[in-house]
Symmetry: C2
Subunit: 157 residues, 2 copies
DNA sequence: GATGCTAGGTCTAGTTGACAGACTTAGCAA
DNA sequence: TTGCTAAGTCTGTCAACTAGACCTAGCATC
């Protein structure tokens, strides 16, 4: 089998663009903690294990890219400091998180089961991720999906 | 707001385990091409842009982890060589791919639109990823999801 | 108005990983 | 036996990561 993909460029694939932002080492762990409600530098550091400098870099990058924003806070007897909160752009990564968690739970499961479960806030039932199509069909496997060149596709010269 | 997450360890979070396998630089691009039907070393190299040595490392790692398998093939006038095909474990990463593509298309879109579209093989309609809960409710936003400690959760000492 | 406290950094030196480009390998054909 | 080709490996260079020490800026207490 030869793939149609060979005839097209990869330069403008948005997966590459997405990975350029969130694909660096530690970045995704930082986002995981952000989704867990962690907002402060030292908490992030403890929970991700990232070296301070790296964490500093990654937070700055995520703020620059608009996935996190810095918000001031103040504890009694302390000066004003800043914490990091997810923006809508960051929150939009949630499905990626859920998908990765699902894969990890299935294929890299620790003996005693998942450490975290996602539940529907309103009813408590476990959250699931489903593939479907715009016509309402359920899709069970990647084999039922056909990638086709989109409007931004460019043929290889 | 203080997060419940602070009371629990992160060591056994499966997102971390998943990222340890697929979170290295280039690895995800290699998998993207695998989903595009690319199987051969040189095609991978051209399409991902990864240096030969890195690609070689990543492919070996993915084979060792069971996401790809080596399969022999033979072109006329050539000796037998090996190509790399997704295993079920690899194919199970498809939702992560779709989620990342969706995010990229929304937030890092090139001017002329997405380079690749995913369509349902049977009806041609675009593929979508939906969050829901086991009770059948549709979930629109990460804000409707509550993470809770699972069976594998361990309190911080 | 000097001192200590603390979260959130920065600085430095050493190690690991990525990179480009040249070189190697193994079987088939002529 | 020579050439051809896909799929690597080897080498030197350079960038990224890492651990650990150090710095910073307000607030409170003295």
């Amino acid at each position: 089998m030869s793939s149609w993909a060979l005839d097209y460029e990869t330069a403008n694939c948005t997966i590459g663009a997405a990975l350029a932002i969130v694909g660096e080492k530690w970045t995704f762990l930082v986002l995981r903690e952000a989704f867990n409600g962690i907002r402060r530098f030292d908490d992030m550091r403890r929970r991700t294990g990232a070296p301070r400098q790296i964490l500093s870099d990654r937070l700055a990058r995520l703020v620059a890219e608009g996935l996190l924003r810095r918000a001031p806070y103040r504890e009694d007897g302390q000066r004003t400091r800043y914490e990091y909160r997810l923006t809508e752009k960051g929150i939009d990564l949630f499905p990626v998180m859920v998908a990765l968690l699902g894969w990890g739970d299935k294929h890299a499961r620790p003996a005693d089961g998942p450490a975290v479960l996602l539940t529907h806030r309103d009813c408590g039932a476990p959250v699931t991720l489903r593939l479907g199509c715009a016509d309402g069909h359920q899709i069970e496997s990647a084999r039922q999906v056909t990638p086709v060149p989109g409007p931004g596709a460019r043929r290889v010269a």
